[in-house]
Amino acid sequence: MTGELVVVGLSHRTAPIAVREKLAVAGDDLSAITKSILEAGAAEAMIVSTCNRVEVYAVGGSDLGRSVRATLTRRAGGAKLDAHLYEHRGTEAVRHLFRVTSSLDSMVVGEPQILGQVKEAFGVATEAGTIGPLLGRCLHRAFGVAKRVRTETGIAEGSVSVSSVAVDLARGIFSSLAGRTVLLVGAGKMGRAASQHLVSAGAKLLVTNRSPERATALADDVGGEARPWESLRDLLVAADVVVCSTSAPGFVLTHSLVAQVVKARRHRQLFVIDIAVPRDVDPAAGQLDNVFLYDVDDLQKVCNENLQARGRERDAAEKLVEGEVGEIERWRKTRGVSPLITALRAHVLAAVRGEIDKTAGKLRGLAPEDKKSLEVLAEAITSKVVHPALVELRRAAQADPDTQEEVLGAATRMFGLPDPRGPETPDTEGGHPVDDGSSQKGGASNAHSRAEPSSSPPSELERP
């Protein structure tokens, strides 16, 4: 082993935006800085840089944290970062990675973007060649954990932004937004964001504003059509969703206007989102049949409730993460005995093959199928012979260092293997713990797969 996982970074929890922006890394810089972390002594490295966090994940020895801190400080132009930086090592670092990827450490718990951002960082690091077996394994596992957290808990359920709540509500009223008409009344910033969400769900956008120039500019900007303010009543009749965000001091959509519109619409459902302050729509209009009115407080209330609901799911998600951290820890420990397991298996297999070849040489007229059967036999005998020893070695890997040393030494001496404490053998199976093959029957194909180490990191953690 060449070290353990270390994470050094800062996030929205520890640093204000003014500090975070000094460290933000993007584009070509990302792979350059990742490489500089390697030069600082890391065996593997990856940088996650989002608007809410900048974190360096690296594999290395006990001094690595200090080197990474120094690199980050240089990056921030010498600014004092120590008060904002956190550092986790080993199991803590794995837990942190899993929590970040599963969006448990996000500003909005359960938001989906972070998973994509970590995947992107992983892609950049892979391209730069800075991902090795440990980081590769931990990240693949992290992606699996994030998926489990999203599907097995309610952490990602319910929208938590005003715009997406508006879209959710519209979908509760209309079977589909495709082909529906959204009318944006006023050219306010919030209204623009909400209508953009609705348009991206397939709706057609009409924009009306007292100032026709602003209506045209906004319509051009968001892909809608500008309509004259004077035709507001007709536009209300045609629309399915109305988003109001004018800066008018009084009601723009009065009760009587909406009542007239409802009649003219022949009672088709009308969803009105009033995100103006002061309000644009008379609250009494929301009592009319087939009119559904939400103001900014209503939308915010829904957001808060959804956030609370996500918070209630946090415990279940944390428990799930904890289980997966345990798995990766078991794998990490088993990985320490992998070189010995590989050597032991190869040693026994070579001996068995040697004996079989000797006997086969004396036999005449062996068909290719018979030779294949003998190969399978060699694999099967090897698996049978080494299985108890491998079980013991894996058990020892989970024990304290003294016991581990004792068992590894005994196995080395018994089978006449090279000293496992010598230079570390590269991870021949792309990070997989070596399997004794006892659970597999396809000996020949198995042997083939062992002869050709995989270069890609594993997608699933094999349980020892």
Partner: protein, 260 residues
């Protein structure tokens, strides 16, 4: 015995659909659907055993009609619910279905007087059974509509809101069910009138049943007419459907209770 097992299966299905509406989750959804398919399969076996092969071979008793109504409601939901992706409606349909099935259990003797038995009677019973099945589905959809509308007005867009279909979908589904049920009920009333020689009721109970059957027809006709002429939809149409189904229920209860 098979009747009791089927009733228990329907009850289990009811509980599972209610749990799914409340809690959500793919596992509950799957269990609920499987339990209803199982109950419906038991029901088919029961129906064949009791009606087609049993003592009631060829008879036109209330038990068989109610049992068939319950079965059509279950099968109608399973087929159309899947097609229209309205799985959650099972939470509203299965309780009614269970009541219809238990109602069938209350009547195990034929009540059709020999005097009214004719070649027209099978048609009368069949169209009524299918029509009432369509209205039962319309009723369940209307309840779902009102619940969903209530959730939206109360600004509760959590679990139940997420699982129920959109108002638009529910409104269209209710309309379709009424459109299927209405012509069947019309034929049922006309054939009933022919069978009884106009609307001459032999007993007060029969008179009440006839009056409410006509009332149900009038209400559903009004709902359809107002939908077309005045653009009625949504809550008003849902309430109209509830009133129409309430009238139809009086007719059904009248049959279950009988002339006594």
């Amino acid at each position: 015995m098979l009747f009791a097992i089927t009733a228990v299966a329907y009850a289990a299905s009811c509980a599972l659909f209610a749990a799914y509406l409340w809690e959500g989750g793919q596992r509950l959804e799957r269990y609920a659907k499987v339990s209803l398919w199982l109950a419906a399969a038991l029901h088919v076996a029961y129906h064949i055993d009791t009606v087609a092969l049993g003592e009631r071979r060829g008879s036109y008793d209330i038990h068989a009609a109610m049992s068939a109504l319950s079965l059509f409601v279950a099968l109608g939901y399973l087929v159309f619910g899947k097609r229209l992706k309205l799985v959650v409606l099972g939470a509203f349909i299965t309780p009614i279905n269970l009541l219809l099935f238990l109602g069938a259990g209350l009547r195990d003797r034929s009540v059709v007087p020999p005097g009214v038995r004719s070649a027209l009677l099978p048609l009368h019973i069949s169209v009524n059974v299918l029509g009432y099945a369509a209205f039962t589905l319309a009723f369940a959809v209307a309840i779902a509509y009102l619940l969903q509308e209530r959730q939206i007005r109360a600004k509760r867009i959590g679990g139940v809101f997420q699982r129920l279909p959109s108002l638009d979908t529910l409104d269209k589904a209710a309309l379709r069910c009424v459109l299927v049920g209405f012509p069947l009920l019309t034929v049922g009333i006309v054939t009933g009138a022919i069978l009884t020689g106009g609307f001459a009721a032999a007993t007060a109970a029969e008179g009440t049943r006839q009056a409410f059957a006509v009332a149900a027809w009038v209400v559903f006709a009004a709902v359809l007419l107002l939908r077309v002429s005045a653009g009625w939809r949504g809550r008003r149409a849902a309430f109209g459907t509830l009133i129409g189904f309430a009238c139809a229920c009086v007719v059904l209860v009248g049959y279950v209770v009988g002339d006594t």
